[in-house]
């Protein structure tokens, strides 16, 4: 059954059909939202809200873009709005399954160093301008092509290439500082 058929069924009142969409698209939306919030619980909340919002706006989905592109847009907007609204500071400290936790060795010193390294990377990523960060996340967390990213961001492939280059340069610059 195609996405279009599923959407048709959902719009006919078959709410259970929506489960198929959630199961299919939740992993990819989760990865993208994780790139923004770096927190598993918060990412789950935002993905859940994304699907609720998508369900409520499903009638307005015009099939001009693919369902995945449309869902990406909603998830990105949800994440950016969440970060703008909350303006969370030091949210990385609450990360229960962070980079440091798994990659750390038994040595407490190396564990601390890796924790610090994760903090620096998160801070550098979060300080990127919104468009650069979004393009970077879609590229690195979802392996989307420049064409697909351009479709999500409603821009040209050339603009996406520039955004990615600037994002990488920005990260290098920020992480290059001691």
């Amino acid at each position: 059954m195609t996405d279009t058929e599923i959407i048709h069924n959902v719009l006919q009142g078959d709410q259970r059909a929506y489960k198929w969409i959630v199961e299919k698209y939740s992993p990819m939306l989760f990865r993208v939202v994780m790139g923004f919030v770096h927190n598993q619980e918060q990412a789950e909340e935002l993905v859940q809200d994304t699907f609720v919002k998508a369900y409520q706006s499903l009638a307005a989905f015009n099939h001009k873009s693919s369902l995945s592109t449309w869902l990406y847009r909603i998830a990105i907007n949800q994440s950016i709005n969440y970060l703008r609204g909350k303006k969370i500071k030091h949210f990385w400290t609450s990360l229960p399954l962070g980079f440091s936790g798994r990659a750390a060795g038994p040595d407490p010193l190396s564990q601390m160093e890796q924790q610090e390294q994760s903090h620096l990377i998160r801070r550098a990523m979060d300080s990127l301008p919104e468009k650069q960060r979004t393009a970077f996340i879609l590229s690195k967390y979802e392996d989307l092509s420049q064409k697909e990213i351009a479709s999500v961001l409603k821009t040209s492939e050339g603009a996406v290439e520039q955004l990615l280059q600037r994002a990488k340069a920005g990260l290098r610059k920020k992480l290059g500082k001691p």
Binding site: R16, F30, E44, Q48, Y55, G98, Q117, R122, Y141, L171
Partner: protein, 101 residues
């Protein structure tokens, strides 16, 4: 951190975050939330008419208070002078002026 080291660190960080996945109960939670939203009486949103009624009630109360306040008129002062003969009144000053005793 040089560029090579930076790339490795960032890639490792992203790889770790990518390895996490959503809860297997995500679909169930979403459907439960949708059902809760579609069930009458469970909506957390206040209907528009209730908001308007509440605003009207508060506005009425405030305007009523203002008009009541404006309608108050103080009782007119007696223009007639009160003549009090205090000749027979006790001089209380003599009780406080103890030094003179």
């Amino acid at each position: 951190m040089n560029n090579g080291s930076y790339d490795k660190r960032v890639e490792a960080f992203i790889k770790n975050e990518r390895s996490l996945g959503p809860s297997p109960f995500m679909a169930t939670r979403v459907l439960a939330k949708l059902e809760a939203l579609s069930t009458p009486g469970t909506s957390r949103c206040r209907p528009v008419w209730a908001t308007i009624a509440l605003a009207a009630l508060l506005t009425g109360a405030i305007l009523g208070g203002i008009s009541l306040g404006n309608s108050y008129k103080a009782a007119p002062m007696e223009t007639r002078a009160i003549v009090v003969n205090d000749h027979a009144m006790e001089n209380l000053g003599s009780y406080f002026n103890l030094d003179s005793e």
